[in-house]
């Protein structure tokens, strides 16, 4: 019969352009056929006996037909699951769409007769999730298409559960050889989950039930638990560097608030904070949330923070974020003066190698620190000390802020930067020449400033007249004392 060969067509069709059309046609046919069968209830419901058994068993021909049809349906869904790994995107997409259609129909016309009244075709969703998180190819596009189904709360809920299960089974297998692609796909899927923040928001369901409120799917707490289990399952395994950063970037914002127990992530964050470099910087944000809202005690937090300050902070992508956090950590007026002074001095030392966009952040930042902690003003104003020093008393290599002798030093670096080539930087640095004003400067604008924006700002500034060089030009290298003429030649 042609029906029995349909799934075979689906699988065995060689992946070529013209066959793609055939596959698509086959998928559509299956979709229509089994869709109609599901609606009419012409598939066997309940515990499915094996094919051989059903033939031998003595039951009506109709039942036999239903059982046989059910077997065809099962093999069809399996095929569709496999087709989600097909090369061509339209096939994947259609397969996904068909599977989700089946899911919907199955939920309305359950194939499993069970006692309790809340039905959901979890097996089918498991197949879908497996198809979405592939181990060998990037499926981000497919996942973005899947997004619309996840708007439904019950689908999302069961997807989270399915992902957690899938992660457990796959990663267990992959202990020796990790699947970076699999992890990436999994991350794409789970990071695209948008959690509801209130219970009242949960009302969009794929399957409607009579007493919906009693169903656990409509409980926010259950959602959160599923979410938590999924993420913990994901973070349990070692992540590649880039994925590590990506997780940390969204952690504080879209993961932590939706957990039942955020402190569970503490270990993950402390480990990340100790990694160093950009990962540490990013872990700060999550740690901050934990410290602030969940009473996390972190010993030597400031010492660690102090050691995070190195020249690269001006060049990393997350500069603005880091400075915003640093500002927050140092905003407390109860911090000891030596600590703040050490931070200010270290930042100003680092400013000696910073690009102009970084300088426009760090100089006002230091000024703000001094304003907040007037006891640190000695850094820029030390009127009564006559002793001239032969070198800067501040010790840059010292790990402990207490030992760095920052309070004995002065901010000569800022003084140096008054000679900076960029006028904005120079005038920002010139602020320490006079006693600082009371008001703190607003950093929010400068934090996101890039060098290109500085350039645009400079070049769009309107001027009345343009000053000109008065020395008569004598050629490309014709200036008096031209440096170029000394080192380069035109020949």
């Amino acid at each position: 019969c042609s029906l029995s060969s349909l799934p075979q067509i689906l699988v065995s069709a060689p992946p070529q352009a013209e066959d793609q059309e055939i596959i698509l046609c086959a998928i559509r046919t299956c979709s229509r056929l089994f869709g109609a069968l599901l609606m009419r209830g012409e598939l066997f419901a309940g515990k499915l006996p094996s094919e051989e058994e059903s033939i031998q068993e003595s039951c009506s021909a109709e039942t036999k037909y239903k059982i046989w049809m059910r077997h065809r349906y099962n093999s069809c869904t399996n095929c569709l699951g496999e087709l989600m790994g097909h090369k061509s995107f339209p096939v994947k997409e259609t397969a996904l769409g068909t599977l989700m259609k089946f899911t919907e129909l199955e939920a309305k016309h359950p194939l499993v007769k069970n006692e309790w009244s809340f039905n959901f075709p979890r097996e089918l969703l498991q197949v879908v999730v497996e198809g979405l998180i592939q181990t060998d190819q990037d499926s981000s596009l497919l996942i973005s298409h899947f997004q619309e189904y996840m708007e439904q709360d019950d689908v999302r809920f069961f997807v989270m559960k399915a992902v957690a299960e899938n992660l457990g089974s796959v990663m267990q297998k992959a202990k020796r050889a990790p699947f970076p692609i699999y992890q990436k796909n999994a991350f794409t899927l789970i990071s695209s989950i948008i959690m509801p923040s209130e219970e009242g928001e949960i009302k969009n369901f794929l399957v409607k039930h009579a007493n919906q409120e009693e169903w656990k799917v409509s409980k926010l707490k259950e959602h959160r638990r599923a979410f938590e289990r999924m993420w913990l399952g994901f973070l349990k395994y070692k992540l590649p560097g880039s994925l590590y950063k990506k997780v940390l970037v969204i952690l504080h914002d879209s993961i932590l608030p939706h957990l039942n127990e955020p402190t569970l992530l503490m270990d993950f964050l402390t480990v990340a904070y100790d990694v160093g470099g950009a990962i540490s910087l990013l872990a700060l944000n999550g740690l901050f949330v934990l410290i602030l809202q969940h009473n996390l005690e972190y010993p030597d937090f400031y010492t660690k923070l102090y050691s995070l300050l190195d020249p690269s902070i001006f060049h990393v992508k997350y500069r603005a974020r880091f400075f915003r956090l640093l500002d927050m950590f140092l905003s407390s007026s109860h911090l000891p003066a030596y600590l703040v002074a050490a931070f200010a001095k270290r930042l100003s030392r680092l400013a000696l190698t910073a690009p102009p966009d970084g300088l426009l952040i760090v100089i006002p930042f230091i000024c703000n620190l001094l304003r907040r902690h007037p006891s640190c003003l000695v850094l820029i104003h030390k009127p009564n000390s006559l002793a001239e020093m032969s070198e800067d008393p501040y010790k840059m290599d010292e790990k402990e802020p207490l030992e760095s002798k920052a309070l004995e030093s002065s901010l000569w670096e800022i003084k140096t930067l008054q000679k900076h080539y960029h006028p904005d930087v120079a005038s920002a640095a010139a602020e320490i020449n006079l006693p600082l004003s009371e008001m703190e400067q607003d950093l929010s604008e400068t934090l996101e400033l890039t060098a290109f924006e500085i350039f645009d700002r400079d070049i769009k500034k309107e001027t009345k007249d343009v000053p000109l060089e008065y020395q008569q030009a004598r050629g490309l290298f014709g200036k008096k004392d031209d440096i170029f003429a000394e080192y380069f030649s035109l020949e």
Binding site: L352, E413, I432, L434, A473
Partner: protein, 739 residues
């Protein structure tokens, strides 16, 4: 005899010149023409006919050439044109011409014979008188000389001296720029017209002759006195003198040579003349050919020569086509001429045109720099022009520069968003940055062009990957630019120090970073970390400190190992030199030590151990270390005292109420207008009142005057009456006495 020789020489000269058909020298003939008369007497050596005949031919040819040449082919277009004008056939024309010339010849001959006869007569008359005259003049002269010698009087001398003394001449007014430009343009116009005409193949005939003298009595009726043919009347004594002088100078040899020359010529002449007479047409043909040749040569020359007038290019492609295939100098001429023909004082739109030209030239500089190999010499020359244009239009020039920078930065931004690290720009952009230093003052605190370009360069030094030696050279070039930008103003550039540190790190073989941190673009070097390490000894011996050619930047790879090593060494040397400059420049900065610490550490601990550098480089290295070791005192910072801020005073804010009882809500302008009207009315009233008061005052004064006058009159009348009464009284008294 003496005279005779002299005459022969002279004649010969005239002949030489006549044999060549040189029209320009015809005046020579007139100048010496007076001799012809004498020659006539001496058995007629000169046949003036030959002279005239040649002339005739020449003029025919000339006229022929005026008509575009009759006997040789012309390009059809031209021919057609001319045929349109003169419908006569060619043959007719030729005949006409010949007839005409013959007629002219005859006419002239008769005229000349007449004059010759007359002069002969005059000469013979003169000879008779001459003897007397000569004796007398010589005598009187000697007498005069004797008398004059003791004469010079002091007073006279003084007077003369004063008379001849240089007096301050009123100098001409300096020409204004517009006038100069106008003159320039006129000159170019003239030259261009010339060139165009020559390019089209028009022989210059009329203008080549010296302009003829036009008498005031000239009626412009076409009547011409043939001065050239007419021999001047002259006195042999004058001639004698002149020739005598000439002869003293000439050597004997020359004379003899000349004599022989005349002889040969004399023998040649008649035959030539015959030939001329026989085959005029043939001669014309051959001459025509020669003319064509000459013309073609001129044509070619004109084509090679640059045009003198250029329209300002409207698009970059136009400029490109103007510049294509020209040498540097020619290009400069072209641009110079464009500038002159489009001087802003000449027409209204020229300013915009030249402003555009600036942009095109900039673009052109870029193109030259992108060529393989780059034509930097031309760029070098162009810079001067750019500078001058920039002086004329600072605003436009700065806008063009800004646009360039903006484009470069935006493309950089896009690439960075896609890839992360980017490559150094090509030579053209680097040259633009250099040109900015030529055009604009780089020491300004803020400058509309310089400041953005500094930001741009900072981006180059922090975001561009250093992967090849060429990248290193480019980076060092940007470093040089930075130094040049900031050397005057002594400003601090953190990126520069970072970059130099990174470059030096590339020259150190071991990869570990100790005691200093590398920043982007050196933070992630991986396989390029030994880029400047000189691996073999092969290069080090041959290395000489020399300027790095900019051509390296555009040349593709494929150099020998030695060359590569040399380049590496040059880079290291340049880098060290720049470090030295930085050290000198930043010495005064309070945190000089902190700035240069990484470099000092790198230099002192790694370089001498690892590599055997040539001596020259070693020396440089030592001096750099020396420069870096500067002791500095650290003085604690002290804030200046802020001026006390005056207390805020709570004085009420006074709002001026303009008018009471009227609408206040109208707009400011309206209010102002009303206020002014009101004020005007009030002023008017006041003025009227004043005038009225004045009038009253005047009337009062007048009245007082009248009253005064009246009272005076009354008093006088009274007095009169009194007098009269008294008189009458007296009279009555006397009368009473009588009675």
């Amino acid at each position: 005899m003496h005279i005779f020789i002299c005459l022969v020489v002279l004649l010969q000269k005239t002949f030489e010149k006549k044999n060549v058909y040189n029209l320009n020298e015809e005046e020579d003939l007139t100048h010496y023409g007076h001799s012809l008369a004498d020659i006539e007497k001496l058995n007629d050596i000169v046949d003036s006919d030959s002279d005239t005949e040649e002339k005739g031919i020449l003029s025919e040819e000339l006229t022929a050439s005026h008509f575009g040449g009759l006997l040789y082919k012309k390009n059809p277009a031209e021919q057609q044109n001319e045929e349109d004008k003169n419908p006569k056939s060619r043959k007719e024309l030729v005949e006409e011409l010949i007839a005409k010339s013959k007629w002219e010849k005859r006419e002239r001959r008769t005229q000349r014979e007449n004059t010759l006869e007359l002069t002969e007569k005059l000469n013979s008359d003169w000879k008779e008188i001459q003897a007397f005259l000569l004796q007398r003049t010589s005598k009187s002269e000697t007498q005069n000389q004797v008398q004059e010698k003791p004469k010079p009087d002091e007073y006279d001398m003084l007077v003369r001296e004063l008379g001849f003394e240089m007096k301050m001449q009123p100098s001409d007014r300096m020409k204004t720029e517009e006038e100069l430009a106008k003159e320039d343009q006129e000159k170019l116009l003239q030259l261009e017209a010339d060139r165009l005409r020559r390019m089209n193949g028009d022989e210059q005939t009329e203008s080549r002759k010296k302009p003829k003298h036009m008498s005031a009595d000239d009626l412009a009726d076409g009547f011409l006195l043939h001065k050239d043919d007419r021999p001047l009347l002259s006195y042999s004594s004058d001639k004698d003198d002149e020739d005598g002088k000439g002869k003293e100078e000439d050597s004997e040899n020359k004379e003899s040579e000349e004599e022989s020359g005349t002889e040969t010529e004399a023998s040649n002449n008649p035959s030539e003349r015959d030939a001329n007479e026989e085959t005029i047409v043939g001669k014309m043909l051959s001459k025509g050919k020669r003319l064509i040749e000459r013309r073609n040569a001129v044509k070619e020359a004109a084509q090679l020569e640059l045009p003198y007038l250029f329209a300002a290019p409207e698009s970059y492609e136009q400029l490109q086509s103007l510049m294509l295939g020209r040498t540097t100098e020619e290009q400069m001429h072209v641009i110079e001429r464009i500038r002159k023909t489009n001087h802003p004082s000449l027409a209204v739109g020229n300013k915009a045109k030249l402003e555009k030209l600036f942009g095109f030239l900039l673009e052109y500089v870029g193109e030259l720099a992108r060529k393989e190999p780059p034509e930097l010499k031309t760029v070098d020359k162009l810079v001067v022009i750019l500078f001058e244009l920039c002086q004329m239009f600072p605003k436009a020039a700065s806008n063009h520069m800004k646009l360039l920078l903006q484009d470069a930065t935006h493309s950089m931004e896009e690439i960075i968003e896609e890839k992360g690290l980017l490559a150094f720009p090509e030579l053209d952009m680097l040259l633009y940055l250099k040109i900015i230093t030529v055009l604009f003052p780089t020491s300004d605190f803020w400058h509309p062009v310089v400041t953005p370009s500094l930001v741009y360069m900072s981006q180059l030094l922090t975001k561009c990957a250093v992967r090849t030696e060429q990248d290193v050279v480019k980076g060092l070039l940007v470093c040089c630019l930075f130094l040049e930008y900031t050397s005057m103003s002594q400003r601090f550039v953190p990126e520069l120090v970072n970059f130099l540190l990174g470059i030096l790190h590339l020259a150190v073989p071991n990869n570990e970073v100790q005691g200093y941190t590398l920043l982007p673009p050196f933070a992630s070097l991986r396989k390029h970390s030994n880029l400047l390490v000189v691996c073999e000894k092969s290069g080090t011996e041959t290395w000489q400190k020399q300027n790095i050619s900019l051509h390296i930047l555009s040349r593709s790879k494929g150099k020998s190992k030695i060359e590569m090593n040399n380049l590496r060494l040059s880079c290291v040397a340049l880098c060290l030199d720049l470090v030295k400059r930085c050290a000198v420049l930043y010495r005064e900065l309070p945190s000089f030590h902190e700035i240069t610490d990484p470099i000092r550490m790198l230099l002192s601990s790694f370089i001498p151990r690892s590599v055997k550098y040539p001596v020259q480089l070693q020396e440089l290295y030592d001096t750099v270390l020396e420069k870096l070791d500067v002791c500095r005192q650290y003085d604690p910072l002290v804030c200046e005292k802020r001026k006390p801020v005056p207390l805020k005073l709570y004085t009420p804010k006074i709002v001026k109420l303009l008018e009471f009882g009227r609408k206040q809500g109208s707009s400011r302008l309206e209010q102002e207008r009303k206020r002014l009207i009101h004020k005007h009315r009030r002023e008017l009233k006041g003025a009227v009142r004043e005038i009225r008061r004045d009038n009253q005052f005047l009337a009062k004064m007048q009245l007082a005057e009248i009253v005064d006058r009246d009272s005076e009159r009354k008093r006088k009348v009274k007095q009169l009456f009194q007098n009269l009464a008294q008189q009458e009284g007296d009279w009555k008294a006397t009368k009473r006495k009588k009675f």
